[in-house]
């Protein structure tokens, strides 16, 4: 039975940039031979994360400042994602050899764990069909690693592979802020922003929308159990959830 570290960063007071640094440090630790890890975290406040190579000018910096949103950059790819009303997970593991180490296989493995966790909340999620990014907002663009309920995205994930290790992190939407990504990104005109807002709203769903338990401790605990049971692992935890 493999042993993983369980890192409980729920409610930890840390900036968004520090959150990303924590994930990268874990990736480096695992690449250097450290135990795999699952880190669960929440955010100090609304935080907009950009993909690794997403252009800075996708962001409406003035809007972010006005709404008190920290802007950070993820080590993973993809598009902008608003955090703060979500539970974020980071799974870090050595990349297995052979077919088990392909990007698709790893997404499949971790999707199974996430779906098992969501099932404990009474949510029947499925893996979305892959389609490329269609705009600057992450959740408006369906990707192969999405977990959806019906046609709407509940959990988006992204991977980075470095030095034989893999970091996959992602976000389970619990609720919504009074604003969304489209209020924080730059668009050529109001019509384009309105179209993006409509697309985002129609393609996403939260646990609250579904009437499922959406409080952070319950969601986090469900994910912990989903990972443990699906990956048949044992936790090494210093701070029990």
């Amino acid at each position: 039975m493999p042993e993983w570290r369980l890192i409980d960063d729920i409610g930890v007071d840390r900036s968004g940039a520090e959150q990303m640094a924590r994930d990268v440090a874990l990736l480096e630790e695992v690449a250097a031979g450290g135990l795999p890890a699952l880190r669960l975290s929440t955010w100090r406040g609304p935080t907009l994360s950009l993909g690794r190579f997403q252009p800075d000018d996708d962001v409406d910096a003035a809007a972010c400042a006005r709404l008190g949103v920290e802007v950070i950059r993820r080590p993973t790819g993809g598009r902008a994602l608003l955090h703060g009303a979500d539970v974020t997970y980071a799974a870090v593991l050595p990349r297995p050899g052979g077919d088990a180490g392909t990007i698709d296989a790893l997404y499949g493995l971790l999707a199974g764990a996430l779906m098992a966790g969501l099932a404990r909340l009474g949510v029947a999620a499925t893996v979305g069909e892959g389609r490329g990014p269609a705009g600057p907002a992450c959740f408006a663009a369906a990707q192969g690693a999405d977990l959806r309920v019906g046609e709407r995205k509940l959990c988006g994930s992204a991977q980075v592979h470095r030095a034989g290790a893999v970091l996959q992190h992602g976000s389970v939407l619990c609720g919504r802020f009074p604003f969304d990504e489209t209020d924080l990104l730059a668009y050529p005109d109001a019509a384009a922003r309105a179209r993006a807002q409509h697309a985002l709203a129609s393609r996403t769903v939260t646990l609250e929308d579904l009437g499922a338990p959406a409080d952070v401790p319950t969601v986090a605990q469900a994910l912990v159990v989903g990972f443990r049971q699906t990956l048949d692992l044992r936790w090494r935890s210093t701070v029990p959830l």
């Binding site: 690794r52 190579f53 993973t76 790819g77 990007i103 990707q143 030095a163």
Partner: protein, 127 residues
């Protein structure tokens, strides 16, 4: 899946085509297929000294961000600027217009130590 005979390969799924002291590098057909649609290529700096097996740039696809390792030691003398506007060339022509960078080889014999097409094909089929 293509395994051209005129290039050498690494187990990290890069290819090298040597022409004298210049070696053109890209990622293999297997790698581009595994990555999915490539949306961005972070090109290395021209003039950078690179060491075989070290990471020298990253490729973002709709699925992941993955490192590209240089298969050979030397100096980067050219990068494929076309990938800035059309990163999908990596998918469309991994052994052709989707090349990523050119290394001025420190040791031309280093290329011969890499996998040939048959050995790389066997590696991919076994994995």
């Amino acid at each position: 899946m293509e395994f051209p005979e005129d290039v050498r390969y690494t187990r990290e799924h890069e290819w090298v085509r040597a022409d004298g002291a210049r070696a053109t590098v890209g990622i293999t057909d297997y790698a581009q297929d595994a990555l999915g649609d490539v949306v961005y290529v972070q090109l290395p700096d021209v003039g950078a000294n690179v060491v075989a097996a070290a990471s020298c740039c990253e490729v973002e696809s709709t699925k992941s961000v993955s490192e590209v390792y240089t298969p050979v030691t030397g100096t980067i003398v050219e990068v494929n600027e076309a990938l800035t506007e059309t990163p999908e060339l990596v998918n469309q022509a991994p052994y052709g217009d989707g090349w990523i960078f050119v290394v001025e080889l420190a040791d031309t014999a280093e290329v011969d130590t890499l996998l040939d097409a048959g050995a790389y094909r066997a590696f991919v089929e076994e994995s």
